[in-house]
Amino acid sequence: MRIQVDVNGESREADVEPRLLLVHFIRDTLGLTGTHWGCDTSNCGACTVHLDGEPVKSCTVLAVRANGHEVTTIEAVSSGADLSLLQKGFREEHGLQCGFCTPGMIMTATALLERTPRPSEDEIREAISGNLCRCTGYQYIIKSIEWAAKHNAPTRVEVMP
């Protein structure tokens, strides 16, 4: 099936099997390997991307479902040397170790701060509860998100289409 998806501001077209998962479309078809996968059952959140601006688990969305819609991945959270505040926060507050859950965490946190610029700690915990991390014990991830909220400014660098 021919699909057209707006990915990170660019129109991308491909012929795909209906069963192709969005995560594989992003990673294998488009080569955007910043989006990871870590489970089969939509528990881990490593595959989190934005679909029409909302964070979703791309391992549980068919690529054909995104036909005619907008997808944003970690690769578009910042451009060039610039970093979003969240990306900076994760670096400043040691919000990552192996880095595998990090893109998903950042996508989830980006959506959180867009809706709730000053979240409480409980709101952050709740927001990332569908993104598993095996390395950090979560505390420094929460601090990273708090860092970005504290340095309140746009959380996403606009990508020119």
Partner: protein, 297 residues
């Protein structure tokens, strides 16, 4: 990563078209809404639909949460998040928001739909139990038109519903708002299915429980309604001893499976505990709501 087996794919542009497609493709076709129950099962190759009929383009028709003439109407494509964030739900149907906080995680709640959680008929699904407590019904539409099914009659068994293969669930309706409600769940970890969970809704007449309903999940082969427990509560003034008597009955009314979440004895005891806690909270909320109204005057 595990991937689904092959299937044919259709996109429905309207509810009518979805019904036509269901008719055309027969019982091996499945509707795809949020997909967050169906796609994992397909990836694990526990489900093999021949045709998926994607209804996500029907948001315009089926994604809404609104209160009209005292009736809460929730469109089948309302996302879990819509319910959680709806001011009407938070104001008058608190147990739905309570239940939603327990459902999977925020990302899944962005995609998962209310209709899907009814149609999937997982006996551990929270939302049907909460809607049973509200005395809700669902609207299904097929080639012959619309009909309604009480939520408590919807599931015929695990993953099996009274919805015909050529019908589509379009709406859940709550006929009247309770004065107080509450939903409690015991889970092994955030986002887990219920070891046991239940919701209660209360309609008070002064200090007396005029009517109440209790919906339970994870403790039987379908969503359950604790009728005996409700009967024990009706017409009485709320107090802890009353809750405990009702809780005993609810525990007897369920038939929990023995699984990794625990033994039937454990789950029965959880029902006993949760009925009391949910009643306490629901009654508290009913009284609190009255107080607030009084203050507001």
């Amino acid at each position: 990563m595990q991937v689904p087996a092959q299937f044919d794919y259709e996109v429905a542009a309207s509810v009518e078209e979805a019904i036509e497609l269901l008719q055309r493709h027969g019982p091996e076709a499945r509707l795809l809404a949020g997909g967050h129950s169906l796609i994992p099962m397909m990836k694990l190759r526990l489900a093999f639909p021949e045709v998926l009929i994607d209804i996500h383009e029907l948001d315009g028709e089926l994604r809404y949460v609104r209160e009209e003439d005292g009736v809460l109407r929730v469109g089948a494509l309302a996302r879990h998040r819509d319910l959680l964030e709806s001011p009407q739900v938070r104001g008058h149907y608190t147990l739905l928001a309570d239940a939603e906080k327990f459902i999977a995680d925020p990302l899944v709640r962005n995609m998962g739909t209310v209709g899907g959680s009814f149609a999937h008929a997982d006996p551990s699904e929270d939302l049907p139990a909460a809607f049973v407590a509200l005395g809700a019904e669902v609207v299904v539409r097929g080639p012959g038109g619309e009909r309604t099914i009480a939520v408590e009659d919807l599931a015929l068994g695990p993953f099996e519903t009274a919805i015909e293969p050529d019908e589509i669930l379009t709406e859940a309706r709550v006929p009247r708002a309770p004065q107080g409600s509450s939903y409690f769940k015991v889970e092994r970890r955030a986002g887990d299915y219920a070891s046991a969970a239940l919701g209660v809704a209360l309609w008070m007449n002064g200090e007396e429980i005029e009517d109440t309903r209790i919906g339970m999940c994870g403790v039987g082969s379908t969503t359950l309604r604790a009728r005996e427990a409700e009967e024990a509560l009706r017409g009485h003034s709320p107090d802890e001893e009353l809750y405990k008597r009702a809780a005993e009955r609810a525990a007897e009314e369920c038939d929990p499976p023995d699984d990794v979440r625990g033994t039937p004895e454990y789950k029965r005891d959880l029902v006993r505990v949760l009925v009391v806690r949910a009643m306490e909270q629901a009654v508290g909320r009913a009284r609190g709501a009255e107080d607030r109204t009084a203050d507001g005057r």
